[in-house]
């Protein structure tokens, strides 16, 4: 029974989730503890399911697996995490939503999207609110990558799992072993989180708020403990700190690793420079555009625009102002930034800056070939030749991304949502951003979206998080053969 092998790992993951829920529930102790029964039920069910899967899968936990199993495992893990992770919300009386709403909320958490169906976040008990933030932190660096880091050996091809979950056109490793790489990623991630928590506390936030926001900044998640998001903090220093850390989490983590090891050449990375240039330009344009709105206060509009541009481009989705009330130009620009996303190998979503950069270079080469038909040119990134396979993969991915955006927008408009709402909700879900424009804007929730739409958006969030291919292979009838092709194709 080869399928059972997958169960073991999924079971362990669920047990781990249960443990994390307990950790979150601890925050409610000493308060009225309204969420205790909800957590108890959720933990019991999750742990039971986990134990069952473990027992079923235990005998066949070792041995070789196929690529198909590895890819399915990743997709299934995310679906299960969404289902069981949503249970605490569902069992909480004050939540008032359906099971689908709970699933949506948890998927939005794990995929670091940050879209919510809860209108009054502040009414939730602290334990549940913390669980919401924790889901984002766990999902940010990848649930499976976490397991790779923690569990050194289990039957699955760690290489495939790593590639399936890590965003970007090329899954880089900076140390020879995947397991070791995964450990470094989590270490850097955790260190940044601690640092940000401390800095936020220095800005005057209490431990709970500081930690909750750090947990959702580093994965570029965007859940806040307040209805009005970061704007509710009314703390300019904290806003600046969050802006900086959003920016940092949007940078390729390989660069963090290299900088940590005093490799100054990392700063010369073309993608990093492109990323900084795009963000700086967008921030300047938006600042100029919204300046009249803030009475010509340049500093304030710059702070607001920088925060919002970084938040959207890194696909975090915090709001420090109601950007849906900004002029048309700013709204359109932010909408397009949703597609762009952060750097490859970061915790951010979207199409990724690397891919856009590669496509631009590819286009320039095609132009050159028009006038020089015999020219032989290689697309390069950081002076390294990029293989044609990677380029094809990038073009294919970008096409699929746009295709799914179009289809989702169409489906949502069928459900009678207006164009702005439908398009921005689709882009926001695929890019793991969170808020959109119109009815799903920063001052509203996704409650306006009908049930079918929520299910669709949940799926798109997972699609966007796992970069489409990983999920898509599940739906192919001849999946096994396709799996082999994918593996043969290298890094897509």
């Amino acid at each position: 029974m080869r399928r059972l092998r997958m169960f073991y790992l999924l079971g362990i993951m669920l047990l781990f989730l249960a443990a994390m829920m307990v950790l979150a529930a601890l925050w409610s102790i000493g308060e009225q503890e309204a969420d205790r029964p909800a957590f108890l039920k959720a933990v019991a069910i999750t742990a039971a399911a986990g134990a069952l899967l473990c027992i079923l899968g235990y005998p066949s936990r070792h041995g070789q697996t196929t690529l198909a199993e590895s890819f399915s495992l990743v997709s299934l893990a995310w679906l299960l995490a969404g289902f069981f992770g949503g249970l605490p919300f569902y069992f909480y009386d004050g939540f008032g939503g359906t099971l689908l709403d709970a699933f949506f909320e948890a998927v939005s958490g794990f995929t670091t999207t940050g879209a919510t169906v809860i209108a009054d976040v502040e009414s939730l008990p602290r334990g549940l609110l913390f669980w919401r933030s924790l889901t984002q932190w766990l999902g940010g660096m990848g649930i499976i990558v976490l397991f790779l880091a923690v569990l050194p050996r289990f039957g699955f091809k760690s290489t495939t799992l790593y590639r399936a979950e890590l965003p970007g056109p090329v899954a880089e490793r900076f140390v020879p072993r995947v397991v070791e790489t995964a450990r470094w990623l989590w270490l850097i991630y955790a260190a940044f989180t601690v640092l940000q928590t401390l800095l936020l506390m220095l800005c005057g936030l209490n431990l709970y708020d500081a930690l909750a926001h750090a947990l959702t900044t580093m994965p570029t998640g965007g859940f806040s403990t307040y209805n009005a998001s970061v704007a509710a903090l009314e703390n300019p220093a904290a806003e600046v700190v969050i802006t900086i850390f959003m920016f940092l989490s949007g940078v390729n983590f390989t660069l963090h690793y290299r900088l940590l090891h005093r490799d100054r050449k990392a700063l010369k990375s073309e993608e990093l420079r492109f990323y900084v240039a795009v963000l700086a330009m967008a921030a300047a344009l938006v600042a100029a555009n919204i300046a009249p709105l803030y009475g010509g206060d340049i500093l304030l509009s710059l702070r607001r625009s920088a925060f919002q541009v970084v938040s959207i481009a890194t696909t975090t989705g915090y709001a420090s102002a109601d950007f849906d009330a900004w002029p048309h130009f700013s709204r359109v620009l932010l909408f397009f930034l949703m597609f762009l996303g952060a750097c490859g190998g970061s915790t951010g979503g979207g199409i990724k800056q690397t891919r856009l950069l590669l496509l631009l270079k590819h286009a320039r080469r095609e132009l050159l070939r028009l006038i020089h038909p015999s020219a032989v040119a290689t697309v390069k990134l950081d002076d390294q030749a990029v293989s044609e396979e990677t380029l094809r993969g990038v073009a294919g991915f970008t096409f699929l991304y746009i295709l799914f955006f179009v289809l989702t927008t169409l489906a949502l408009s069928w459900m009678d949502l207006d164009f702005t709402t439908a398009a921005s909700a689709a882009a926001s879900a695929l890019g793991n951003i969170g808020p959109g424009l119109g009815l799903v804007g920063p001052s509203f929730t996704h409650q306006a979206v009908p049930a079918a739409g929520k299910a669709l958006l949940s799926l798109m969030m997972i699609m966007g998080r796992l970069e489409i291919y990983t999920v898509l292979v599940l739906f192919l009838p001849e999946s096994r053969r396709i799996f082999k092709k994918v593996s043969g194709g290298g890094d897509y």
Binding site: P373, S374, A375, V376, T378
Partner: protein, 466 residues
């Protein structure tokens, strides 16, 4: 001096030829029987048919008493291993031809000396440097720098309207700080001029002097200054690649097109070069050249690795009206053909390499040596030892033979273009221009009276007694 040359290809046979002419004892180790026989027939050298990275072969060649081992096979690794072995045998000087630059500069923990290599040479890179220099100073056919670039030697073709043409030499009014050291006319005539010699139009004139002065002197011989911006390189082999790389790194912006006929090689080049436009096509396909607008360029560099192709390209480029044409000579036999077709700027990688190695066969106070115009003259820079015969004498008193000329004296920051009454002091850097026939006499004038110092443990230098 007892020298072992490993590898009898282009560089190897050039060296065998040159070194045996200079009365050194040369043993060549060559694996290819055909080549080995040919070398033995042509030159006065001993030839061993064997693999040079083999201990037994080296012993048979007499590595224990050799003064120098020069490994110039086609394969980097063989050359490196041969030098490492030779060093273990205590050979004082080892030279390896290494194409791959990563061996020389790639590592900070292992430099060539640790590998047992005293001199690492790459004919391709040297040729590329030479061509790059020509492109930066397109008026000159040949350029050499001395004393860290302060003194320079140029050779230029005198145009028919140039002011110095048809005037007796002694009436020439050259700006201070430079001197004409040689004139070459036609195929064989090469003179170190004096008194009544006259420069004919079309002759190649060798000028030596301060770099700053020489850079503006071209008006004496030519027309206006040429500025090269667009360069077309034909042939993406070692030289073509190295040159494109040099031009990419150059401070003056070049627009480089590189033509290569092999598709695989094109792909490889495009991975390693960044701004160069790499075109895949036959260098002599005129339709291709037209479509890709290759003819519309300032300079053509023909380094296809084949003399026939290079000659055709050179002639074509003349027809297109290209300002500067530089050709690579693969087989020295063809040198006169280039000359006859008016292709003045030629580069012979084997000769350049041989010059680099010959510098090594001389004494240690020799700073540089270059072979000019297909071995018709040599120019060298050396430090005058305290005990040399001409030290403390004036140039007139030193009584140099005809065919030997002190081009300049560099004393501290000063550059002196010597006249009869100028005195030669120990420690001076001298740039000397000689004809090859009398270059053997250099020792008599400039060598220290007695050998001492660093290479005291070396066996007596045979063949140098002359």
């Amino acid at each position: 001096m007892y020298i072992i040359v490993i590898g009898g290809g282009g560089v190897g046979s050039e060296l065998a030829h040159n070194l045996s002419e200079k009365n050194f004892d040369v043993v060549v180790i060559e694996k290819n029987p055909e080549r080995a026989r040919r070398l033995g027939d042509l030159y006065d050298v001993m030839v061993l048919e064997d693999n040079g990275a083999n201990v037994l072969a080296l012993e048979k060649a007499g590595v224990r008493s050799a003064d120098m081992v020069i490994a110039v096979t086609e394969i980097d690794e063989i050359n490196i291993i041969a030098c490492m072995l030779a060093k273990r045998y205590g050979v004082p000087l080892t030279v390896a031809r290494v194409r791959n630059a990563d061996y020389a500069h790639g590592s900070t923990i292992l430099d060539p000396h640790q590998l047992g290599i005293d001199l690492m040479i790459s004919p391709e890179r040297s040729a590329a440097y030479e061509i790059s220099r020509m492109l930066h100073f397109p008026e000159a056919c040949e350029i050499e720098y001395f004393s860290r670039g302060r003194v320079m030697m140029l050779s230029l073709v005198a145009g028919p309207d140039a002011p110095i043409v048809r005037t007796p030499f002694r009436q020439l009014n050259l700006p201070p700080g430079c001197i004409i050291v040689g004139i070459s006319e036609g195929q064989d005539k090469f003179i170190i001029p004096g008194g009544n010699d006259v420069i004919k139009p079309g002759a190649r004139v060798y000028l030596l002097g301060r770099s700053r002065t020489l850079k503006d002197i071209s008006f004496l011989l030519l027309h206006e200054r040429i500025r090269i911006k667009r360069v077309a390189i034909f042939g993406g082999g070692g030289i073509g690649f190295e040159l494109a790389k040099l031009l990419e790194e150059s401070r003056s912006p070049f627009e480089v097109k590189l033509v290569e006929k092999d598709g695989e090689r094109c792909a490889q080049l495009s991975r390693e070069l960044s701004h160069t436009l790499i075109l895949h096509g036959e260098p002599t396909d005129l339709d291709f050249i037209h479509v890709e607008e290759i003819a519309d360029t300032d300079a053509v560099v023909a380094v296809s690795g084949d003399d026939r192709t290079n000659i055709i390209l050179g002639v074509l480029a003349k027809q297109w009206g290209v300002k500067k044409i530089i050709c690579e000579v693969v087989d020295p036999q063809f040198t006169p053909v280039y000359g006859a077709l008016g292709l003045e700027s030629i580069v012979n990688p084997h000769l350049i390499t041989a010059a680099q190695i010959l510098r090594f066969t001389h004494r240690e106070d020799l700073l540089s040596l270059s072979i000019l115009n297909n071995e018709r003259a040599e120019i060298l820079e050396l430090v005058l030892p305290e005990t040399a015969r001409v030290a403390h004498k004036t140039v007139a008193e030193a009584n140099f033979p005809r065919g030997m000329l002190i081009g300049s004296i560099i004393r501290g920051q000063e550059v002196i273009i010597p006249r009869g009454q100028d005195r030669l002091l120990p420690g001076d850097h001298l740039v000397i221009f000689t004809l090859p026939e009398i270059s053997g006499q250099l020792e008599r004038y400039f060598a220290a009276a007695e050998k001492e110092g660093r290479r005291a443990n070396r066996p007596l230098e045979r063949g140098k007694a002359k």
